[in-house]
Symmetry: C2
Subunit: 814 residues, 2 copies
């Protein structure tokens, strides 16, 4: 069952009924001012930090679901009937409804009894404000006397404090209203120098700023007394809950339409120029008045929207494909790339599932996310890499999280997630392969942000690799630390108290439990590092790295191979995990993917054998589950993984992040059909037709789909902010379609389904546009390459001469 | 305007319309299982700790206001009409409605179209469960086919995590349903050994445990689809949001009534006996089944309710008065004493304004609260004192807060609130005066909970006093530290960053700013301590203490007296605060009250002068504001006090806690009329008739009433959990009515209004019931005392011989 359709032409998803199984959200903003917006206009906005600079209030896990947002009410003043053109919050049935989610904007349109209304929500580039561009049209045969009400509820800035410290916060709310503009200035009198404003392009027939004055006591957003009565009360908020409401009265002749623009913005004044006149308590509004005036003009709003469209268009145009499969096309060309950019902007901060008051930037997360956006915003990827490396410690270890605002490591969570350092190698390597910018390796970067500790970034990478080499356990495998990639496999934390962190309550010495996954990751990172070293002319270092990888491989074959798959780990008692010896958790997905990606088992059939085991034991129609059999009970020595009910999250859920590793592995053994089949199982567009099962947005990946042990097998959770986005993008573009940046140029080595006749692609790479055409001549994966009509050996397109802007690539597959 | 009436006979407040200006709440439970409940059944329950063991979910600052609670729905199956007998959440207009809040219970009753329903909510003594005892009666002339639905929403235990960590929490929810009992067991599979249960006395026609299955997508508690349809869906929650819903079908003949009991409970199993059978994942329910069976019987529920009534009746009966003023009577006899007990149970944890996830137990708060409940639960007061003293540091300083569960000081907030230690002296002194239990002084108590550091409690008191003596500033006044009683006067914290704590971001050395208030408090505590020392036979120590007090007094007269009132403090630059020299904040209430209570100015007219200034400059019809003129802007050197908009909270709000100090001071200068006038201004019962202005509950004190500078002058905020309760109780009972425990016996020295002919009182004191009758013979405050008919010198009733249980006291006032 579908709740909408893809409009690939406009790069939009069009939701055609408002009652989607869950709120299907989108993001506004791509620089400093951000918001989430659902298909019924729910959500909130913030400036930079979703906890500390929350502009509007939003109640997570609310009843009714997703209640609270950027709401407009229309009131037919003749009948007194009122409704929301976004369906919520009044939920009055609409004659027509669509929500178009595009890149950085959403347009919600509806009709009721001949009143058409459409609101375009977006954030202009370069500005700290959002535009609500409302068009109302009278499709009746008679004149229409209409009142329009806008509404938002202000958050008192710190979202956590706002939802807990009422004995203070109910007394601090303050606003100013001037020329119909509502200024929210709670705590501006004291240490804040920022305020929010809510403006309207039309003459205002009234306003409200006190929530209860607008709603009426004990009434909800579904039936504000002001809207019911048709007249704002011009309330001024003193404490309690400040809101912003405008009333605009409009008379429309038949066929006439009118545009009303609302602006919600954020502004910071210099600390010594907060008030106007100085010494008063009145906000200095000089700077914002100019901005407000500008964007309240329809032409300016239209122009800003066009700029936004162009911005996103150019980002997406950097990599376009045309394959026989529409799900592949639209995810690669539009939605997966867009989701990658959202993970760049948001990390794991604000979504329908991430409340914006929790985690900082993950070290491991951010390095992996980068794989998905490095080709779109390479300059910002460089900056992100240097930020990440600066939170690395002198030991090579890394803070597991850092704060985006301060760029400092999070002491509360700390370090010792032993896979963390290695991901930096993958990120830097991907950056150099994409850009050719070798200079990044010479950038001076401190450790733990300590001035004076700077070394070239290259040494950070060396220390990252050494971190693993120096931390091996009884079998010679890498010690796992607090956790490796799977934050929920906690082998050194025997936690028996509720509420303890499974990750930070470490109570074992950590000298026994080992990770086969990190061994695989080490092989990946070690080979990348060797490639970098060799390319820099340091062949001795390269040889040393390769020998360390080979040593690790030998250990894995000896202690990490279970007979038909790779083991997952050894626990604190030295017993294997992910082995046929176990009763539960016999086979895990992660080491199968990562070891094969590291090159293990490719020569001796172990890779094929492991993948066969994955297919037999872990694969389901909804994706590949993390392990089997699910843990039926809590195991003190395993930690959080066994805390989840079977089939959910890491306990045998389909943890989508891991699935592309298997897709990649399948391509490495040449299985194009199997790789693409797995790709389709979790591809959100492909799952659109079972939206009643999947329930999440059909245009973005979710972190998790409930596994076969779950009562709700196939149900997706935690959409948007997940490493799933980057890795699926890597799997489909670099391994299945096979268009892969290398140090020497763009490689084209597809491993596509046998039934495909070929595909086309446009790829902007190091400033050059590659027009790629792949044609299947036979059933296999052998390639022959022509560049600008000239046959070329191998499968790497040599870098063209400087100045060349276009390259034609033709590949035959047989 | 009133929204209800007092039923003094039944010791209840009867709310007669549901749409009170704010939710008017009450408390359930008085041992380990607690809840708050509003007049429309809103609220939540918890076990011991409102953050870590939250049983049901509640959204603070919700829209609609106070949505979420212990809801029952009735559905007329003939018409399909459904409603809530508590008004919320359906808000369908009821023909009749009452909510009776009593001590530890609430009864919400209503009628609609001939269907009468009444629900009694209470927690049986000794049990960890709440009873909802519903009676439905058919007052129609025809048979009634009714369905009853119960509903609660479970919280996933940690209330903070529950409202922020959705990427985990949406996957962890689990329930069991057995014999119609719903068991909420989220995380029971792993480290929790506690679960909640929701049971029903009637045969269950269906149940629901998945919120969206009950409500329907995008629907609220006001219109659950299950209730609309009239049939539960028997849903089992897997993740998302578990709820508890029962359906009971009832057919009632005309005049017939039926009782249905719902139980919501909490249970902890032994860690090694969680499952039944062992090795399974099924909750061991053996223990709770017995309890459930018991309280689902109406007779048992009735019996438990009677026990609860008796418990509270005996507590309140310990002190009863009969004066010419009904507001005095009902507050002293019922509501103020009840509120004192609530502050004992809750500290500042859970109310409509305290979200239960914030502060720990305040050191200063708890010592003051004790003054209000020591006569009701002396044994538990003793325990509280010893807990508090154990968080004191070796320096004499005290952690400003400690955690109730661990009884450890809160490191994040720390120490150096320089008034804190002195309050312990007042608490211990009050305890001994009440009980005569001198042994408490010899109890061995550690410092900072460190084993081995124990000294007798008496030495804790000595160190408390010495703490002030050793920390004096340039004028010889006590250094203020992070703050004295007024947490918002922060003279050593120049905070310019939003979000910083005003109290803990100390960035000054703290060697300059001084507090006149602490000087006054030192005089109070020093004299109390001297009295204790003298009574223990240590007259040298007593003399030394008095000389320290006198030294302090001299300093106050020299540097703390501003000419017409006591100054408040000296800032970090050595400039006075609360002085005519200031432009704003010229006079503060706190030092006027505390210095006079410490005996300052009683001999030389300064006290009278100061009180005259209070009357002229601070008193309003709604109470006495904290300071004047209000701070019109933020002052870096003053801190949080100037962060509030004028008229709110400490910035010239009527901070009710301080008003009784002035009442007491007025009695000390003999002004009975003025003292009682001030008493009435903030007396909630007296303010009942202006409930549309006051807005808070008319039966309990609020922390704050908006001051004259506020737009909402007279509006109360932060009801229930405030030191206001204890101090008003002290002011009215010990100083105005003048019935005051002393070391030597009960003193009776009223300073009552001239117009009063007298009053009567019954007071249980050290196991003896005192029947007191005061008769006015003349206009003044001179007393003559008869005990059991015998004239006695002075105004202290000598302690009777052992075995005497009743004493008649007669006082003539002239």
């Amino acid at each position: 069952m579908k709740f909408g359709t893809f409009d690939d032409q406009n790069r939009e998803y069009v939701i055609t009924r408002p009652d989607t199984p869950l709120p299907w959200i989108n993001y506004l903003g791509c620089e400093a001012y951000f918001g989430i917006i659902s298909n019924t206009a729910g959500g909130y906005s913030f400036y930079q930090d979703p906890r500390l600079r929350r502009i509007t209030r939003y109640r997570y896990n609310n009843v009714p679901m997703d209640m609270g947002g950027r709401y407009i009410y229309l009131r037919d003043n003749t009948s007194g009937e009122f409704w929301s053109p976004s369906w919520q919050p009044t939920r009055k049935p609409l004659d027509e409804y669509t929500c178009r989610h595009g890149q950085g904007y959403s347009i919600i349109s509806s009709s009721l009894k001949g009143v058409f209304a459409s609101t375009r929500y977006f954030v202009p580039m370069g500005e700290n404000l959002e535009v609500w561009q409302l068009t109302v049209r009278n499709d009746r045969g008679e004149a229409l006397d209409l009142s329009v009400f806008s509404s938002i509820e202000f958050c008192l800035w710190d979202a956590l404090d706002d939802s807990s410290n009422f004995q203070r916060n109910f007394s601090t709310g303050q606003v100013e209203v001037e020329d119909g503009v509502i200024y929210h200035k709670t705590e501006y009198r004291e240490r804040r120098n920022h305020f929010a404003y809510f403006a309207c392009s039309a003459e205002v027939a009234g306003f409200d700023t006190q929530r209860e004055a607008f709603l009426g006591a004990y009434r909800g957003w579904d039936s504000p007394q002001v809207v019911e009565a048709g007249q704002c009360s011009n309330s001024i908020a003193y404490g309690w809950s400040p809101v912003g409401v405008h009333q605009v009265n409009v008379t429309l002749q038949p066929g006439e339409e009118r545009q009303v623009i609302f602006l919600l913005g954020y502004h910071e004044n210099p600390a010594d120029d907060k008030f106007d006149p100085p010494g008063s308590q009145t906000i200095n509004k000089r700077a914002v008045k100019t901005v407000i005036r500008r964007y309240l003009q329809a032409e300016e709003a239209d122009r800003a929207f066009a700029v936004l469209k162009t911005y996103w268009g150019e980002l997406l145009d950097r990599f376009q494909v045309e394959t026989p499969d529409e799900h592949t096309n639209r995810m690669v060309n539009i939605w997966n790339a867009y989701q990658n950019m959202i993970t760049f902007n948001m990390s794991r901060s604000a979504s329908y599932f991430e409340s914006g008051i929790g985690r900082g930037m993950g070290y491991r997360d951010s390095n992996q996310d980068l794989l998905g956006f490095v080709h779109m915003v390479p300059e910002r990827a460089r900056e992100r890499i240097l930020d990440l490396a600066a939170t690395q410690m002198a030991s090579g270890g890394a803070y597991h999280q850092y704060q985006q605002l301060t760029k400092r490591g999070n002491d509360a969570v700390g370090s010792n997630f032993n896979d963390d350092p290695l991901w930096l190698v993958l990120a830097v390597s991907a950056y150099i392969k994409e850009t050719g910018d070798w200079s990044i390796l010479d950038a001076m970067v401190p450790y733990d942000n300590q001035p004076g500790s700077e070394t070239p970034l290259y040494e950070h990478l060396q220390r990252s690799v050494r971190y693993t080499v120096e931390r091996k356990g009884p079998h010679g495998l890498p010690l796992i630390g607090r956790a490796d990639w799977n934050d929920c496999l906690n082998l050194n934390c025997f936690s028996s108290e509720p509420g303890q962190s499974f990750q930070t309550t470490t109570n074992k010495e950590g000298k026994v439990a080992e990770s086969v996954f990190i061994a695989g990751l080490f092989a990946v990172a070690g080979r990348e590092m060797a490639e970098l070293a060799a390319a820099r002319g340091n062949s001795a270092e390269a040889r040393e790295l390769i020998s360390q990888v080979e040593e690790m491989e030998a250990v894995v074959y000896q202690h990490g191979w279970d007979g038909a798959w790779f083991r997952r780990a050894y626990d604190d008692f030295g017993r294997p995990i992910g082995s046929a010896q176990n009763e539960e958790g016999q086979i895990f997905i992660e080491p199968q993917g990562m070891c094969i990606m590291g090159g293990l088992g490719l020569d001796d059939g172990k890779a094929e054998q492991a993948l066969k085991s994955v297919g037999e034991r872990l694969a389901t129609m909804h994706g590949i589950v993390l392990q089997q059999p699910a843990y039926s009970q809590y195991y003190l020595h395993l930690g959080e993984i066994s805390s989840y009910p079977p089939g959910y999250k890491e306990n045998a859920g389909i943890f989508c992040h891991t699935n592309p590793w298997i897709m990649i592995a399948e391509t490495l053994v040449g299985h194009g059909d199997q790789a693409h089949d797995y790709y389709l199982r979790i591809n959100p567009s492909r799952r659109e037709e079972i939206s009643e099962v999947h329930r999440g947005e059909p245009y973005v990946y979710s972190q998790m789909i409930a596994g076969r042990d779950a009562a709700t097998h196939g149900e997706a959770k935690n959409s948007w902010l997940t490493g799933t986005a980057a890795w699926n993008y890597v799997a489909i573009t670099q391994y299945i379609l096979g268009i892969q940046p290398t140090l020497k140029g763009l490689k084209v080595a597809p491993v596509i389904p046998a039934a495909w006749k070929g595909f086309k692609s446009t790829r902007l790479y190091r400033g050059v546009t590659y027009q790629i055409e792949v044609e299947r001549k036979g059933p296999g994966n052998l390639t022959r390459l022509w560049v600008n009509g000239q046959a070329v050996e191998g499968n790497v397109v040599p870098l063209p001469e400087t100045g060349v802007k276009d390259v034609q690539v033709k590949v035959e597959l047989a």
